[in-house]
């Protein structure tokens, strides 16, 4: 029988980014015996990379804002495919969650009145993002980290979950390995919260780190929970494109929020050429109007004119940059120029965008106070994920909860910048609460011994297989295949090709050979992560093939427009004895009292 250590908890939280930590704080606060496991060290999760801010209608920077406007912006940005109830709860609760962070020690940038300052961002009608320069995620994760260590929650660092277990149709435990020792751990828990983030590591050009292999989505799907809207992947318009080694590294939308403009190689401000009809009334019609908006905002006044087109939603900007490059008008390394140097003073840039200044100076030898940056789209975020119930964040599998990027519904077809950090707080808390309340009534289940043994056997098989492939090679090929076929624009032919290729990849990831021992062996860790990546890649490709239209983060060359027949449909992916099956569900109807805030896309 395989060797492992067993732990018993009421609530097991998987992941220690913003959502996981906020869930753990809530769960521990409600008296549940809580564990948090994380793939990296505490405080290193992806949240730390979030730059721009957290969206909440605090009304500090512009008192014309309201939760209703935030709700409307979120639905509009999501092309009305959002689960309205999640968008409603998010807009209503985000201000309290931000304020709460301040009560726990966070130090946001201030308004002249001494309140939390807010900045403009794409798709948000008013300045709405609470921020700290361009390192808001760091402030948030540090605040939550320093809070959680004083709570009654046990922290397991560098521990990765590979399998979930059920008993009587309910989630009851998980198998994990310690990165440091390579030893296995069995967590038995009455409720499990997945807060594992996204899966951008399946793509070649991405802002995501090694951790983002889509573990949560894959674990949930394998255990029988439903996935939602997986075709919607956000390609952030501005990643670095040069040097090659940093291709994909994020350039915050804050650059555009502070007045940065996008130019093609001829110096043309091309975003004016790509304003969608649905946004015509929200965006400046002329450069003069756009420049006036920047001048007003930079001097701390309320904007009286419409915003620059660079602040259109991310899907629109990303596609526009790609179109310019395709038309032969790109920058030398295949992107667009992002210029803040001629728009703001060097002092302003260093104060408002310090880490961008630092990042370009150090990694690209570019001084952004003097020269334009070269930027292009990078795989950044998954709007799709595990389907959850809005109030409690419970998935369709009893006892299994999900919050943050791993969950779906809030963002619809496209996420607005700034809505992720607030999502983590609002639904992290709800998941912690939902799980702790569920655990109070649930009895502990017992994972079947045979399943635990089988899981361990699967995890270590690659050490015994002698002529299998190198996991790094398979990963590189998977990333290239996904980038080419399931990337920022898609076609029927490419998606079918991708699904076929994924059959092969599925076989390949089960025939990998790993050298060395189990203790801190990244090759072995990658071999296990690849199994998640294949599931998530298939889910994206399958849903993308069925959505024969273009909407938000999903663009089809063969179906370039909105299609009304898809405007009220969400795609659900289920597990039928190990086979992924897709069905279309009608979108939950928006009740009348909210309808007046929603405009048809």
């Amino acid at each position: 029988m395989a060797q492992y250590t067993t732990h018993d908890f009421d609530v097991l939280v998987v992941g220690a980014g913003g959502a996981g930590l906020r869930a753990a704080i809530e769960s521990a606060d409600l008296g549940a015996k809580t564990a948090v496991v994380m793939k990296s060290l505490l405080g290193k999760a992806h949240t730390v990379m979030a730059e721009g801010g957290a969206a909440a209608a605090l009304r500090n920077a512009d008192d014309r804002d309201s939760w209703q406007t935030h709700f409307r912006d979120t639905m509009k940005g999501g092309k009305q495919l959002n689960y309205y109830r999640m968008a409603e709860l998010h807009a209503k609760e985000a201000p309290d969650r931000i304020q709460e962070l301040e009560d726990w020690g966070a130090v946001f940038d201030r308004t002249p009145d001494g309140l939390i300052n807010q900045r403009n961002f794409g798709g948000h009608t008013y300045p709405r993002l609470a921020h700290v320069g361009d390192r808001t995620g760091l402030e948030m994760i540090r605040t939550l980290q320093d809070k959680v260590v004083h709570m009654n929650a046990e922290i397991f660092m560098e521990v990765t979950i590979t399998h979930l277990f059920k008993s009587n149709g309910k989630a009851c435990g998980a198998l994990a390995y310690s990165r440091v020792t390579g030893e296995f751990h069995l967590f038995r828990a009455k409720a499990i919260v997945l807060a594992t983030g996204g899966g951008g590591k399946s793509f070649a050009i991405t802002s995501n780190s090694w951790e983002y292999s889509g573990d949560g989505q894959a674990l949930a799907w394998r255990a029988g929970a439903e996935l939602l809207d997986m075709e919607f992947v956000q390609f952030h318009p501005t990643g670095m494109v040069w040097p090659l080694s940093v291709r994909g590294t994020l350039v915050t939308e804050g650059v555009r929020g502070e007045g940065g403009v996008l130019l093609n190689k001829d110096g043309r401000r091309f975003m004016f050429d790509y304003i969608p009809d649905a946004f015509k009334n929200d965006v400046a019609a002329t450069e003069e109007e756009a420049n006036q908006w920047v001048a007003e905002v930079a001097s701390g006044k309320l904007a009286t004119v419409r915003r620059p087109p660079e602040l259109l939603t991310r899907d629109v900007v990303a596609r526009s940059i790609r179109a310019e490059v395709q038309a032969g008008r790109g920058s030398p390394h295949g992107g667009a120029f992002l210029d803040i140097a001629t728009r703001r003073t060097a002092d302003d840039i260093k104060r408002k965008l310090p880490s961008m200044y630092h990042q370009f100076k150090q990694l690209a030898n570019v001084d952004i106070t003097k020269e334009a940056m070269e930027v292009g789209p990078t795989c950044h975020y998954m709007m799709g994920g595990i389907k959850v119930e809005a109030e409690t964040a419970m998935t369709t599998l009893p006892g299994l909860f999900a919050a943050g990027e791993v969950a779906a519904g809030l963002h619809g077809a496209n996420r607005l910048g700034g809505n992720s950090l607030s999502d983590l707080l609002v639904f992290g808390r709800r998941a912690g609460w939902g799980a702790a309340e569920y655990a109070k009534k649930a009895s502990a289940g017992q994972p079947a011994q045979a399943e635990v043994d089988q899981a361990i056997t699967e995890n270590i098989a690659c050490f015994d297989l002698k002529d299998g492939e190198n996991p790094y090679t398979v990963h590189k090929e998977l990333q290239d295949m996904m980038q080419d076929n399931v990337g920022i624009v898609r076609t029927d032919e490419e998606l079918r090709g991708a699904l076929k290729a994924l059959d092969t990849f599925e076989a390949r990831v089960n025939k990998l050979t790993v050298s060395g021992a189990r203790a801190y062996n990244p090759g072995w860790n990658l071999a296990m992560d690849l199994r998640s990546m294949v599931v998530v890649s298939r889910a994206i490709a399958m849903a993308a093939l069925e959505r024969r239209e273009s909407r938000g983060g999903h663009s089809r060359i063969d179906f370039p427009d909105y299609d009304k027949s898809f405007s009220k449909i969400n795609h659900i992916l289920t597990n039928d004895n190990g086979k992924m099956v897709l069905r279309a569900d009608p979108l939950p109807a928006v009740p009348d009292e909210l309808k007046k805030f929603v405009e048809e896309a």
Binding site: M49, P243, V514, N521
Partner: protein, 247 residues
């Protein structure tokens, strides 16, 4: 311009290792972490190293490059002499685990001992007010990405092993961020003196030099904390009050 560079990377477990040679192809713009990843993908799939954001924001990939504590993700190969071998070794101040990975858990145990943030009561309208000029100095401290390069270079820890008596520069920064927080009302001065051991620092500023966030650790965090401790414990008038007050 592509070129071959000789990398000497520390391999082994619990200090029993040695430098291994890898001749690696280097392309323009590559950073040391890219080179480590290339070695993993080609020669040594089990080469252990920590990393996450690859953009200088998470502080995971700390190592000693040519003997200098550095973030591998922010150290460009073309800033180093590529004609000579380049060494990459784990941080020396912490117990070794494997290859480039060390056991940094001591830092988390120190952090846990620090009393949490305790805010003053809110204003009558339920809001908390503090002004940008008041928060500027704590925002400097809150830029810390916990890479522990300052801990690694601090001779009190590195050479004298005073981990039990001195919290190290990282936690002086954290203590300063709490002590100078405009809303905080907790008293951590006794902790800073007795448990944090601020007196051990003799202001060589090595920590400031290696900080990738350019935090003025010594000048802005440690020296002001030393002054606060001196005011409390060594100011003759205060001492007299304490004697009279029976404390």
């Amino acid at each position: 311009m592509s070129r071959i560079v000789n990398m000497k990377v520390f391999r082994g477990e619990k200090d029993s290792g040695q430098l291994h040679d890898y001749n690696v192809q280097i392309d323009d713009g590559m950073v040391v972490l890219d080179v480590i990843h290339r070695i993993q993908a080609t020669d040594a799939p089990d080469l252990a190293c920590r990393w996450n954001c690859k953009a200088g924001k998470c502080g995971s990939c700390s190592a000693e490059v040519n003997g200098k504590p550095s973030l591998m993700c922010m150290t460009r190969m073309d800033t180093l002499n590529n004609d000579k071998p380049i060494t990459v070794e784990p941080l020396k101040t912490f117990p070794h685990v494997r290859d480039l990975v060390t056991d940094v858990s001591w830092n988390f145990s120190v952090n846990k001992k620090i009393k949490p943030f305790k805010p003053r009561p809110k204003d009558a309208d339920g809001k908390q007010r503090m002004y940008q000029y008041e928060v500027d100095r704590v925002q400097e401290f809150r830029k810390c990405i916990e890479c522990y390069l300052c801990q690694d270079v601090c001779h009190v820890l590195r050479n004298h092993g005073k981990h039990e008596e001195f919290a190290g520069p990282r936690f002086m920064v954290r203590l300063a961020s709490l002590e100078m927080h405009p809303l905080d009302v907790e008293d951590r001065i006794p902790f800073i003196k007795e448990i944090g051991g601020v007196g051990f620092c003799n202001i060589t500023k090595c920590c400031t030099e290696v900080c990738p966030e350019h935090i003025h650790i010594t000048d802005n965090a440690i020296i002001p904390l030393k002054e606060r401790v001196a005011d409390r414990y060594y100011d003759p008038i205060q001492m007299l009050f304490r004697v009279l007050g029976g404390k």
